[in-house]
Protein backbone atom coordinates (compact mmCIF):
# COMPACT_ATOMS: atom_id res chain seq x y z
CA UNK A 1 0.00 0.00 0.00
CA UNK A 2 1.25 3.50 -0.79
CA UNK A 3 2.25 5.74 2.08
CA UNK A 4 -0.75 8.05 1.99
CA UNK A 5 -3.22 5.24 1.29
CA UNK A 6 -2.22 3.50 4.53
CA UNK A 7 -2.58 6.70 6.55
CA UNK A 8 -5.90 7.51 4.96
CA UNK A 9 -7.23 4.00 5.65
CA UNK A 10 -6.21 4.14 9.33
CA UNK A 11 -7.63 7.60 9.88
CA UNK A 12 -10.83 6.71 8.04
CA UNK A 13 -11.28 3.73 10.35
CA UNK A 14 -10.82 6.02 13.35
CA UNK A 15 -13.53 8.37 12.06
CA UNK A 16 -15.92 5.53 11.23
CA UNK A 17 -15.56 3.96 14.63
CA UNK A 18 -15.90 7.27 16.44
CA UNK A 19 -19.12 8.04 14.59
CA UNK A 20 -20.86 4.70 15.10
CA UNK A 21 -19.49 3.21 18.32
CA UNK A 22 -19.97 4.89 21.69
CA UNK A 23 -16.96 4.27 23.99
CA UNK A 24 -17.49 1.47 26.51
CA UNK A 25 -16.95 3.69 29.57
CA UNK A 26 -19.68 6.08 28.42
CA UNK A 27 -22.10 3.26 27.71
CA UNK A 28 -21.48 1.71 31.12
CA UNK A 29 -22.07 5.03 32.76
CA UNK A 30 -25.41 5.35 30.92
CA UNK A 31 -26.38 1.85 32.08
CA UNK A 32 -25.59 2.72 35.68
CA UNK A 33 -27.59 5.95 35.39
CA UNK A 34 -30.55 4.02 34.02
CA UNK A 35 -30.76 2.00 37.23
CA UNK A 36 -31.04 5.15 39.33
CA UNK A 37 -34.17 6.34 37.51
CA UNK A 38 -37.66 5.16 38.43
CA UNK A 39 -39.39 2.56 36.29
CA UNK A 40 -41.97 4.06 33.90
CA UNK A 41 -40.47 7.53 34.35
CA UNK A 42 -39.68 9.83 31.44
CA UNK A 43 -36.04 9.79 32.57
CA UNK A 44 -35.94 6.01 32.32
CA UNK A 45 -37.62 6.06 28.92
CA UNK A 46 -35.04 8.53 27.58
CA UNK A 47 -32.12 6.47 28.89
CA UNK A 48 -33.60 3.24 27.54
CA UNK A 49 -34.02 4.89 24.14
CA UNK A 50 -30.44 6.16 24.25
CA UNK A 51 -29.09 2.70 25.10
CA UNK A 52 -31.15 1.16 22.31
CA UNK A 53 -29.73 3.80 19.98
CA UNK A 54 -26.16 2.98 21.00
CA UNK A 55 -26.77 -0.67 20.22
CA UNK A 56 -28.42 0.03 16.86
CA UNK A 57 -25.70 2.43 15.68
CA UNK A 58 -23.09 -0.24 16.32
CA UNK A 59 -25.13 -2.99 14.62
CA UNK A 60 -26.10 -0.89 11.62
CA UNK A 61 -22.66 0.67 11.30
CA UNK A 62 -24.37 4.06 11.14
CA UNK A 63 -23.81 7.40 12.93
CA UNK A 64 -24.95 7.52 16.57
CA UNK A 65 -26.32 11.00 15.97
CA UNK A 66 -27.05 12.72 12.67
CA UNK A 67 -25.11 15.74 13.83
CA UNK A 68 -21.69 14.26 13.33
CA UNK A 69 -20.30 17.47 14.73
CA UNK A 70 -17.00 19.28 14.60
CA UNK A 71 -14.10 16.91 14.24
CA UNK A 72 -11.27 17.70 16.62
CA UNK A 73 -8.05 15.74 16.09
CA UNK A 74 -5.32 15.59 18.71
CA UNK A 75 -2.05 14.18 17.40
CA UNK A 76 1.07 13.25 19.33
CA UNK A 77 3.87 12.68 16.85
CA UNK A 78 7.61 11.88 16.96
CA UNK A 79 10.04 14.81 16.97
CA UNK A 80 10.44 16.32 13.51
CA UNK A 81 7.44 14.48 12.07
CA UNK A 82 5.82 15.93 8.91
CA UNK A 83 2.51 17.22 10.24
CA UNK A 84 1.50 18.83 6.93
CA UNK A 85 1.38 15.37 5.49
CA UNK A 86 -0.88 14.23 8.35
CA UNK A 87 -3.25 17.13 7.73
CA UNK A 88 -3.55 16.16 4.08
CA UNK A 89 -4.16 12.47 4.87
CA UNK A 90 -6.75 13.33 7.53
CA UNK A 91 -8.62 15.60 5.14
CA UNK A 92 -8.77 12.77 2.59
CA UNK A 93 -10.14 10.45 5.26
CA UNK A 94 -12.77 13.00 6.33
CA UNK A 95 -13.94 13.46 2.73
CA UNK A 96 -14.24 9.70 2.30
CA UNK A 97 -16.16 9.26 5.57
CA UNK A 98 -18.54 11.96 4.36
CA UNK A 99 -19.06 10.29 0.97
CA UNK A 100 -19.87 7.01 2.71
CA UNK A 101 -22.38 8.58 5.13
CA UNK A 102 -20.37 8.20 8.36
CA UNK A 103 -20.32 11.97 8.49
CA UNK A 104 -23.14 14.29 7.48
CA UNK A 105 -22.38 17.14 5.08
CA UNK A 106 -22.04 19.33 8.10
CA UNK A 107 -19.84 22.25 7.15
CA UNK A 108 -21.35 25.56 6.12
CA UNK A 109 -19.60 28.53 4.54
CA UNK A 110 -20.32 31.26 7.10
CA UNK A 111 -20.43 33.99 4.44
CA UNK A 112 -22.41 32.37 1.63
CA UNK A 113 -24.39 29.78 3.60
CA UNK A 114 -23.30 27.10 1.14
CA UNK A 115 -22.96 23.54 2.34
CA UNK A 116 -19.58 21.90 1.77
CA UNK A 117 -19.73 18.41 0.24
CA UNK A 118 -16.61 17.01 1.88
CA UNK A 119 -16.46 18.59 5.37
CA UNK A 120 -12.98 19.77 4.42
CA UNK A 121 -12.93 23.55 4.45
CA UNK A 122 -11.35 26.56 6.09
CA UNK A 123 -11.18 25.68 9.79
CA UNK A 124 -12.63 22.19 9.37
CA UNK A 125 -11.56 19.79 10.73
CA UNK A 126 -9.57 21.09 13.71
CA UNK A 127 -6.03 19.90 14.45
CA UNK A 128 -3.79 19.95 17.50
CA UNK A 129 -0.24 18.65 17.24
CA UNK A 130 2.26 17.88 19.91
CA UNK A 131 5.78 16.65 19.19
CA UNK A 132 7.07 14.16 21.73
CA UNK A 133 10.03 11.86 22.17
CA UNK A 134 8.25 8.81 20.77
CA UNK A 135 8.34 6.56 17.73
CA UNK A 136 4.60 6.09 17.20
CA UNK A 137 1.72 8.42 16.37
CA UNK A 138 -1.12 8.75 18.86
CA UNK A 139 -4.36 10.08 17.39
CA UNK A 140 -7.43 11.06 19.41
CA UNK A 141 -10.64 12.20 17.80
CA UNK A 142 -13.57 13.98 19.40
CA UNK A 143 -16.76 14.62 17.45
CA UNK A 144 -18.85 17.31 19.09
CA UNK A 145 -22.31 18.22 17.83
CA UNK A 146 -23.75 21.72 17.55
CA UNK A 147 -26.54 21.25 20.09
CA UNK A 148 -24.10 20.75 22.95
CA UNK A 149 -21.57 23.24 21.58
CA UNK A 150 -24.24 25.95 21.74
CA UNK A 151 -24.78 25.53 25.50
CA UNK A 152 -21.09 26.06 26.41
CA UNK A 153 -20.38 29.15 28.53
CA UNK A 154 -17.54 31.33 29.67
CA UNK A 155 -17.70 33.31 32.92
CA UNK A 156 -15.50 36.12 34.11
CA UNK A 157 -15.00 36.33 37.87
CA UNK A 158 -16.08 38.07 39.96
CA UNK A 159 -19.72 37.85 38.91
CA UNK A 160 -22.13 39.95 40.88
CA UNK A 161 -25.20 38.27 39.39
CA UNK A 162 -24.03 34.83 40.54
CA UNK A 163 -22.51 36.09 43.78
CA UNK A 164 -19.33 34.40 42.57
CA UNK A 165 -15.96 35.63 43.82
CA UNK A 166 -12.45 34.82 42.66
CA UNK A 167 -12.15 31.55 44.53
CA UNK A 168 -13.12 27.92 44.06
CA UNK A 169 -16.59 28.45 45.47
CA UNK A 170 -17.06 31.16 42.83
CA UNK A 171 -15.97 28.59 40.25
CA UNK A 172 -18.50 26.13 41.67
CA UNK A 173 -21.30 28.70 41.40
CA UNK A 174 -20.43 29.30 37.73
CA UNK A 175 -20.37 25.60 36.89
CA UNK A 176 -23.70 24.99 38.62
CA UNK A 177 -25.13 27.98 36.76
CA UNK A 178 -23.91 26.51 33.47
CA UNK A 179 -25.75 23.27 34.28
CA UNK A 180 -28.99 25.09 35.13
CA UNK A 181 -28.69 27.28 32.05
CA UNK A 182 -28.07 24.29 29.79
CA UNK A 183 -31.04 22.30 31.16
CA UNK A 184 -31.51 19.35 28.78
CA UNK A 185 -30.72 21.47 25.74
CA UNK A 186 -27.27 20.06 25.11
CA UNK A 187 -28.78 16.53 25.00
CA UNK A 188 -28.53 15.60 28.66
CA UNK A 189 -27.18 13.56 30.31
CA UNK A 190 -23.95 15.25 29.34
CA UNK A 191 -20.35 15.52 30.43
CA UNK A 192 -18.84 18.84 31.49
CA UNK A 193 -15.35 19.90 30.51
CA UNK A 194 -14.25 22.87 32.59
CA UNK A 195 -11.19 25.09 32.54
CA UNK A 196 -10.33 27.39 35.42
CA UNK A 197 -8.13 30.24 34.18
CA UNK A 198 -6.41 30.70 30.83
CA UNK A 199 -7.58 33.33 28.37
CA UNK A 200 -10.79 33.38 26.34
CA UNK A 201 -9.34 31.11 23.66
CA UNK A 202 -7.19 28.74 25.71
CA UNK A 203 -9.99 28.41 28.27
CA UNK A 204 -12.22 26.76 25.69
CA UNK A 205 -9.36 24.66 24.30
CA UNK A 206 -8.50 23.34 27.74
CA UNK A 207 -12.16 22.74 28.63
CA UNK A 208 -12.58 20.60 25.50
CA UNK A 209 -9.34 18.73 26.07
CA UNK A 210 -10.95 17.43 29.30
CA UNK A 211 -13.15 15.26 27.06
CA UNK A 212 -10.09 13.14 26.30
CA UNK A 213 -10.34 11.80 29.85
CA UNK A 214 -12.20 8.59 30.76
CA UNK A 215 -15.60 9.16 32.26
CA UNK A 216 -14.81 7.63 35.64
CA UNK A 217 -11.36 9.09 36.20
CA UNK A 218 -10.73 11.83 38.72
CA UNK A 219 -8.44 14.81 38.38
CA UNK A 220 -4.96 14.04 39.68
CA UNK A 221 -5.04 17.48 41.32
CA UNK A 222 -6.68 16.63 44.62
CA UNK A 223 -8.74 19.76 45.05
CA UNK A 224 -10.06 19.57 41.48
CA UNK A 225 -11.02 15.93 42.03
CA UNK A 226 -13.04 16.99 45.08
CA UNK A 227 -14.72 19.75 43.11
CA UNK A 228 -15.57 17.31 40.30
CA UNK A 229 -17.23 14.92 42.79
CA UNK A 230 -19.10 17.70 44.52
CA UNK A 231 -20.54 19.13 41.30
CA UNK A 232 -21.55 15.74 39.96
CA UNK A 233 -23.42 15.09 43.21
CA UNK A 234 -25.09 18.50 43.18
CA UNK A 235 -26.12 18.12 39.53
CA UNK A 236 -28.42 15.28 40.61
CA UNK A 237 -30.11 17.54 43.15
CA UNK A 238 -30.94 20.02 40.38
CA UNK A 239 -33.35 17.34 39.11
CA UNK A 240 -33.00 18.35 35.45
CA UNK A 241 -32.73 14.76 34.29
CA UNK A 242 -32.23 13.32 30.80
CA UNK A 243 -33.42 15.74 28.07
CA UNK A 244 -34.51 18.13 30.82
CA UNK A 245 -37.65 16.07 31.48
CA UNK A 246 -36.80 15.74 35.20
CA UNK A 247 -34.89 13.00 37.04
CA UNK A 248 -31.51 12.34 38.64
CA UNK A 249 -29.24 12.17 35.66
CA UNK A 250 -28.36 15.59 34.29
CA UNK A 251 -24.70 14.68 33.96
CA UNK A 252 -22.55 11.58 33.58
CA UNK A 253 -19.29 13.26 34.49
CA UNK A 254 -17.51 16.48 35.40
CA UNK A 255 -13.91 17.02 34.29
CA UNK A 256 -12.03 20.07 35.49
CA UNK A 257 -8.63 21.37 34.42
CA UNK A 258 -6.78 24.57 35.25
CA UNK A 259 -4.42 26.96 33.44
CA UNK A 260 -2.55 29.90 34.85
CA UNK A 261 -4.13 33.30 34.25
CA UNK A 262 -3.32 37.00 34.15
CA UNK A 263 -3.79 38.98 37.37
CA UNK A 264 -6.63 40.89 35.73
CA UNK A 265 -8.51 37.89 34.27
CA UNK A 266 -10.24 34.99 35.95
CA UNK A 267 -12.22 32.94 33.46
CA UNK A 268 -14.26 29.83 34.13
CA UNK A 269 -15.00 28.09 30.85
CA UNK A 270 -17.54 25.30 30.58
CA UNK A 271 -17.91 23.06 27.55
CA UNK A 272 -20.82 20.65 27.42
CA UNK A 273 -20.61 17.28 25.69
CA UNK A 274 -23.87 15.49 24.89
CA UNK A 275 -24.50 11.87 25.91
CA UNK A 276 -23.45 10.90 22.35
CA UNK A 277 -19.90 11.40 23.54
CA UNK A 278 -17.93 10.37 20.49
CA UNK A 279 -14.34 9.96 21.55
CA UNK A 280 -11.83 7.45 20.17
CA UNK A 281 -8.11 7.08 20.15
CA UNK A 282 -5.76 4.93 18.13
CA UNK A 283 -2.07 4.22 18.21
CA UNK A 284 -0.43 4.10 14.77
CA UNK A 285 3.06 3.29 13.63
CA UNK A 286 5.18 6.10 12.18
CA UNK A 287 4.14 4.75 8.75
CA UNK A 288 0.44 4.96 9.54
CA UNK A 289 -0.17 1.26 10.24
CA UNK A 290 -2.65 0.26 12.94
CA UNK A 291 -1.17 -0.78 16.30
CA UNK A 292 -3.98 -0.61 18.85
CA UNK A 293 -7.14 1.13 20.00
CA UNK A 294 -7.04 3.11 23.20
Amino acid sequence: MKKNALWEASLFELIRRTSVDLPADVEQSLRRACKTEKKDSRARWVLDTILENVQKAREKDAPLCQDTGSLIFYFQVPLGFDTNFLVAATRMAVARATRLGYLRQNTIDSLTGESCETNVAHGAPTFYFEQCARTTVDVRLIMKGGGCENVGRQYSLPSEVLGAGRDLDGVRRCILDAIVSAQGNGCAPGILGVCIGGDRATGYECSKAQFLRKIDDRSSVKVLGRLEDRILKESKQLAIGPMGFGGNTALLGVKIGALSRLPASFFVTVSYMCWAFRRRGVLLSARGGFKKWH
Binding site: N53, P63, L176, V180, N185, R230, Q237, F245, G246
Partner: protein
Protein backbone atom coordinates in the same frame (compact mmCIF):
# COMPACT_ATOMS: atom_id res chain seq x y z
CA UNK B 1 -42.65 12.05 36.32
CA UNK B 2 -44.62 9.01 35.26
CA UNK B 3 -44.80 8.19 31.61
CA UNK B 4 -48.43 8.14 30.52
CA UNK B 5 -49.76 6.90 27.22
CA UNK B 6 -48.76 6.20 24.57
CA UNK B 7 -51.27 8.17 22.56
CA UNK B 8 -51.26 7.28 18.90
CA UNK B 9 -51.37 10.10 16.36
CA UNK B 10 -52.10 9.52 12.68
CA UNK B 11 -51.74 11.79 9.64
CA UNK B 12 -53.59 14.08 8.89
CA UNK B 13 -53.11 15.46 12.39
CA UNK B 14 -56.48 17.03 13.03
CA UNK B 15 -57.42 19.38 15.87
CA UNK B 16 -59.42 16.50 17.39
CA UNK B 17 -56.23 14.48 17.78
CA UNK B 18 -54.00 17.32 18.91
CA UNK B 19 -56.03 19.45 21.30
CA UNK B 20 -56.57 16.77 24.02
CA UNK B 21 -52.78 16.23 24.32
CA UNK B 22 -51.20 17.41 27.56
CA UNK B 23 -47.60 18.33 28.40
CA UNK B 24 -45.68 15.30 29.60
CA UNK B 25 -47.66 12.71 27.64
CA UNK B 26 -45.98 10.11 25.49
CA UNK B 27 -47.04 9.89 21.84
CA UNK B 28 -46.39 7.60 18.89
CA UNK B 29 -46.72 9.32 15.52
CA UNK B 30 -47.56 7.59 12.25
CA UNK B 31 -47.89 9.10 8.78
CA UNK B 32 -46.18 11.96 6.99
CA UNK B 33 -43.58 14.29 8.50
CA UNK B 34 -41.93 17.24 6.76
CA UNK B 35 -38.37 17.94 7.84
CA UNK B 36 -37.44 21.60 8.06
CA UNK B 37 -34.73 23.46 9.82
CA UNK B 38 -33.06 26.87 9.69
CA UNK B 39 -33.13 27.56 5.94
CA UNK B 40 -36.69 26.36 5.33
CA UNK B 41 -38.01 28.28 8.35
CA UNK B 42 -36.43 31.48 7.13
CA UNK B 43 -37.70 30.82 3.61
CA UNK B 44 -41.30 30.31 4.77
CA UNK B 45 -41.11 33.21 7.22
CA UNK B 46 -39.94 35.52 4.44
CA UNK B 47 -43.08 34.64 2.50
CA UNK B 48 -41.53 31.91 0.34
CA UNK B 49 -43.88 29.22 -0.92
CA UNK B 50 -44.02 25.74 0.49
CA UNK B 51 -43.59 23.14 -2.28
CA UNK B 52 -46.26 21.02 -0.60
CA UNK B 53 -49.42 21.67 1.44
CA UNK B 54 -48.44 21.58 5.13
CA UNK B 55 -51.96 21.88 6.56
CA UNK B 56 -52.58 19.51 9.49
CA UNK B 57 -49.00 18.41 9.09
CA UNK B 58 -46.09 17.98 11.45
CA UNK B 59 -42.79 19.72 10.86
CA UNK B 60 -39.78 17.77 12.06
CA UNK B 61 -36.73 19.82 13.07
CA UNK B 62 -34.20 17.45 11.61
CA UNK B 63 -31.29 17.45 9.21
CA UNK B 64 -30.97 13.77 8.38
CA UNK B 65 -28.06 11.85 6.91
CA UNK B 66 -29.51 10.46 3.69
CA UNK B 67 -27.67 8.48 1.04
CA UNK B 68 -28.71 7.28 -2.40
CA UNK B 69 -28.60 3.52 -2.74
CA UNK B 70 -30.05 1.36 -5.54
CA UNK B 71 -31.87 4.39 -6.91
CA UNK B 72 -33.60 4.97 -3.58
CA UNK B 73 -33.12 7.36 -0.69
CA UNK B 74 -31.89 5.69 2.44
CA UNK B 75 -32.16 7.52 5.77
CA UNK B 76 -28.96 6.70 7.67
CA UNK B 77 -29.58 8.92 10.73
CA UNK B 78 -32.51 11.13 11.66
CA UNK B 79 -32.65 12.59 15.17
CA UNK B 80 -34.06 15.99 16.15
CA UNK B 81 -32.13 19.27 16.05
CA UNK B 82 -32.46 22.11 18.59
CA UNK B 83 -35.81 23.86 18.10
CA UNK B 84 -35.27 27.16 19.88
CA UNK B 85 -33.47 28.54 16.81
CA UNK B 86 -36.77 28.42 14.93
CA UNK B 87 -38.77 30.18 17.63
CA UNK B 88 -38.81 33.60 15.91
CA UNK B 89 -40.22 32.02 12.73
CA UNK B 90 -42.67 29.55 14.21
CA UNK B 91 -45.70 31.74 15.02
CA UNK B 92 -46.09 32.90 11.42
CA UNK B 93 -45.44 29.47 9.94
CA UNK B 94 -47.90 27.75 12.30
CA UNK B 95 -50.53 30.36 11.49
CA UNK B 96 -50.05 30.64 7.73
CA UNK B 97 -49.51 26.96 6.98
CA UNK B 98 -51.85 25.37 9.51
CA UNK B 99 -49.09 23.27 11.13
CA UNK B 100 -50.52 21.05 13.88
CA UNK B 101 -47.31 20.10 15.63
CA UNK B 102 -43.59 20.32 15.38
CA UNK B 103 -41.04 17.81 16.61
CA UNK B 104 -37.64 18.85 17.86
CA UNK B 105 -35.58 19.06 21.00
CA UNK B 106 -34.73 21.51 23.77
CA UNK B 107 -36.71 24.06 25.74
CA UNK B 108 -38.74 26.78 24.03
CA UNK B 109 -39.79 30.25 25.10
CA UNK B 110 -43.00 32.20 25.61
CA UNK B 111 -43.32 33.03 21.90
CA UNK B 112 -43.77 29.35 21.09
CA UNK B 113 -46.15 28.75 24.00
CA UNK B 114 -48.37 31.56 22.71
CA UNK B 115 -48.14 30.34 19.12
CA UNK B 116 -49.21 26.86 20.25
CA UNK B 117 -52.28 28.27 22.00
CA UNK B 118 -53.18 30.49 19.04
CA UNK B 119 -52.73 27.78 16.44
CA UNK B 120 -53.97 24.73 18.36
CA UNK B 121 -50.47 23.34 17.91
CA UNK B 122 -48.18 21.26 20.11
CA UNK B 123 -44.43 20.89 20.51
CA UNK B 124 -43.29 17.29 20.60
CA UNK B 125 -39.86 16.55 22.06
CA UNK B 126 -37.98 13.58 20.60
CA UNK B 127 -34.93 12.03 22.25
CA UNK B 128 -31.98 14.16 21.16
CA UNK B 129 -29.19 12.16 19.59
CA UNK B 130 -31.31 9.03 19.09
CA UNK B 131 -30.62 9.15 15.37
CA UNK B 132 -30.75 5.38 14.82
CA UNK B 133 -33.82 4.57 16.88
CA UNK B 134 -35.64 7.37 15.05
CA UNK B 135 -34.24 6.56 11.59
CA UNK B 136 -35.72 3.08 12.07
CA UNK B 137 -39.17 4.66 12.43
CA UNK B 138 -38.85 6.06 8.91
CA UNK B 139 -40.52 3.59 6.59
CA UNK B 140 -40.09 5.62 3.41
CA UNK B 141 -38.84 8.81 1.79
CA UNK B 142 -41.62 10.23 -0.40
CA UNK B 143 -39.97 13.35 -1.75
CA UNK B 144 -37.21 15.88 -1.24
CA UNK B 145 -37.52 19.61 -1.86
CA UNK B 146 -34.83 22.32 -1.78
CA UNK B 147 -32.15 19.59 -1.88
CA UNK B 148 -29.90 21.49 -4.26
CA UNK B 149 -30.55 25.01 -2.97
CA UNK B 150 -30.15 24.34 0.73
CA UNK B 151 -28.08 21.13 0.82
CA UNK B 152 -29.23 17.74 2.15
CA UNK B 153 -29.19 18.63 5.86
CA UNK B 154 -31.35 21.73 5.29
CA UNK B 155 -33.68 20.27 2.65
CA UNK B 156 -37.36 19.43 3.18
CA UNK B 157 -37.60 15.66 3.27
CA UNK B 158 -41.10 14.20 3.15
CA UNK B 159 -40.83 11.17 5.40
CA UNK B 160 -43.30 8.40 6.08
CA UNK B 161 -42.97 7.24 9.69
CA UNK B 162 -44.48 4.53 11.85
CA UNK B 163 -44.76 4.82 15.65
CA UNK B 164 -42.28 7.66 15.94
CA UNK B 165 -41.91 8.29 19.72
CA UNK B 166 -41.96 11.71 21.42
CA UNK B 167 -43.04 13.51 24.59
CA UNK B 168 -45.48 16.44 24.52
CA UNK B 169 -43.27 19.33 25.70
CA UNK B 170 -45.77 22.16 25.09
CA UNK B 171 -49.48 21.49 24.76
CA UNK B 172 -52.09 23.57 22.96
CA UNK B 173 -53.00 25.27 26.25
CA UNK B 174 -49.44 26.58 26.37
CA UNK B 175 -48.29 24.46 29.29
CA UNK B 176 -44.60 23.56 29.11
CA UNK B 177 -42.94 20.49 30.61
CA UNK B 178 -39.36 21.74 30.48
CA UNK B 179 -40.26 25.13 31.92
CA UNK B 180 -41.48 23.47 35.12
CA UNK B 181 -38.23 21.51 35.43
CA UNK B 182 -36.21 24.66 34.71
CA UNK B 183 -37.91 26.72 37.43
CA UNK B 184 -37.40 23.98 40.04
CA UNK B 185 -33.72 23.60 39.13
CA UNK B 186 -33.08 27.35 39.46
CA UNK B 187 -34.60 27.35 42.98
CA UNK B 188 -32.40 24.42 43.89
CA UNK B 189 -29.34 26.29 42.51
CA UNK B 190 -30.11 29.16 44.90
CA UNK B 191 -30.36 26.73 47.78
CA UNK B 192 -27.13 24.92 46.88
CA UNK B 193 -25.03 28.06 46.57
CA UNK B 194 -26.46 29.62 49.73
CA UNK B 195 -24.93 27.13 52.11
CA UNK B 196 -21.76 25.09 52.52
CA UNK B 197 -19.28 26.85 50.23
CA UNK B 198 -16.53 24.83 48.57
CA UNK B 199 -13.19 25.52 50.18
CA UNK B 200 -9.77 24.57 48.89
Amino acid sequence: MALTGPRKLNYPFTAEQISPLRAGQFVLISGTLFTARDRIHKHLFDGGKSPIDLKNGIIYHCGPVVIRKDNQWLVRAAGPTTSIREEPYLPRIIKEHGIRAFIGKGSMGKVTEKACVAGGCVYLHAVGGAAQVLADKVVGVKEVYFGTEFGPAEAMWVLEVKDFPAIVAIDSRGRSLTKTVQAASRSMWRKLVADDPFVA
